[in-house]
Symmetry: C2
Subunit: 153 residues, 2 copies
Amino acid sequence: MKIGERWKRAFELSRKRITPSRKAIVEVLEEQRKHLSAEEIYSCLREKHKKVGIATVYRNLELLSQMGIVHRVNFGDGKEHYEIARIPALHHHHLVCTVCGRVIDYQDFRKEEHEFMEGLGRVLETKYDFLIQSHQLYFYGICKDCRLKEVGE
Amino acid sequence: MKIGERWKRAFELSRKRITPSRKAIVEVLEEQRKHLSAEEIYSCLREKHKKVGIATVYRNLELLSQMGIVHRVNFGDGKEHYEIARIPALHHHHLVCTVCGRVIDYQDFRKEEHEFMEGLGRVLETKYDFLIQSHQLYFYGICKDCRLKEVGE
DNA sequence: CACCAAATGATAATAATTCTCATTATCACG
DNA sequence: CGTGATAATGAGAATTATTATCATTTGGTG
């Protein structure tokens, strides 16, 4: 099934209404295919002449996160970011530079990672009686540019 | 070496001053051994009759994070949390309930995880020219209590 | 022990997010 | 295919976390 249609079914199942705002927000996240802040999503909507209030953007991002349709990610820069939840095979994670805040998305080791996380996840589910729906992996460090700058100081 | 002493050496090396505020903040995080918000740390300090301004708490948590003495963690509840950085063998991660926000710390699979992350980290370092200093793993899902409540509705 | 850059405290300012409430729109049901 | 109950929305106020400002204090080097 097309990724773009999956969320509609999820909405019907959870008895949430399919509204123009919700459609538009999912659309933006699908088109951009990267992590955006609420404000950035709001800007994209305005560019597309979709009239959606900022409060609605926040409300629906919260809802979509809870439904597992988008993932909320945080890079320690003071705001939340949101990205469309991909199918596991396209799952990706983040490398965050602790100096400049730059974020690199990577999707290496997908198969190995998937297997490892599956195993770890199953143990945690049993041990802590917790239904696991997703996971996120962050690596923190210093990017090339910042390392070069530091030396120059 | 006692964990409680390691940070002093790090301070000397990076030419940062060892001040009562900094000592007190590290002390709180060591005693509590769990993730605390800036405000919670501030409260602990007041309870211990250590007079440290909230701005100083924030400033020093930022500094300690950059120095790798504390880890900044985020559970999507609108604020940052901080915990003392343990030695790798005690490294732990988090299970976050997306319904009630409850966070469970776990430290299972330490050895396997360490090996897996080492391997993945090395590949990423080379591929993206990025010096990796730490990593964090979050599992998201629904805790036992919230699952039981949902059924009852 | 004096000096000076670094650190601090108090508080103002900012930025992100949530709340309020009157209005509008979805969709289940007839 | 209306229609009504109820969910969703918009606009802006309110709240919360965090950062900036700046006058004052302090750590630690020489």
